[in-house]
Amino acid sequence: MSEEHAGGTAKKFLYVNRKAPYGTIYGLESLEVVLIGAAFEQDVSLAFLGDGVYQLAKGQDTKGLEVKNFSPTFGALEDYDVTKLYVEEEALQARGLSAADLVVPVEVVDTRRMAEIMEDQDVILSF
């Protein structure tokens, strides 16, 4: 599971996102913690379940709401070597969305595969 690293042992971290953006602070806070984890060169993955998939929806425009639109930050994750983004297929379907409606390339996975991904982790942080 863990692999040896120059500066120590890298663990597999999974961040599970289940909340829509803006209605609560969870989405934004999760992203902050993801960036911290990535800075420590851990093996980071993100999972989006249920309303969490809405965090990735294209076309977010928060000018009227006067809060920070954090969806562009997902596009910067690649620079931190965070490239494993898993999205629950069932959640997309229930919301009339497809991978093409999301701001970044993701791997759309079924429930079984998502469960396997979760099992494969050392640390899971849920938001």
Binding site: A20, P21, Y22, G23, Y54, D61, G64, L65, R95, G96
Partner: protein, 103 residues
């Protein structure tokens, strides 16, 4: 004269049953305003859109535009749901006898 109510819903219809509960109690002459995460109920082709369409036959349903736009749903709003700005929100409040905020 019959009293009218403005019902506001701020929870995602996929996250809990607030919208469903609200719709059960909406009476003739009243209206529903979707705000915050409640605006996801206004989207087309979702698991709850049929239910919202059904409600639209007897109840005007509005969605708060700044919340719709923040969530990127502006191009997905179903026919029949009307978008309002903050001024429209105030108008709706004054046009009804009372507001029930479903939380």
């Amino acid at each position: 004269m019959m009293k009218t109510m403005l019902h506001t819903v701020n929870k995602s219809p996929f996250d809990n049953g607030t919208l469903q509960t609200c719709l059960k109690f909406v009476r003739q002459g009243s209206a529903v305003l979707l705000i915050e995460d409640g605006v996801y109920a206004a989207a087309r082709d979702t698991a709850v859109s049929k239910q919202v369409q059904e409600a639209l036959k007897s109840t005007p349903i509005y969605a708060l535009r700044p919340d719709v736009e923040a969530r990127g749903m502006q191009n997905r709003v179903m026919d029949g749901v009307r978008l309002v700005d903050y001024e429209g929100f105030v108008d709706l409040v004054t046009q009804h006898n009372a507001v029930q905020s479903w939380l």
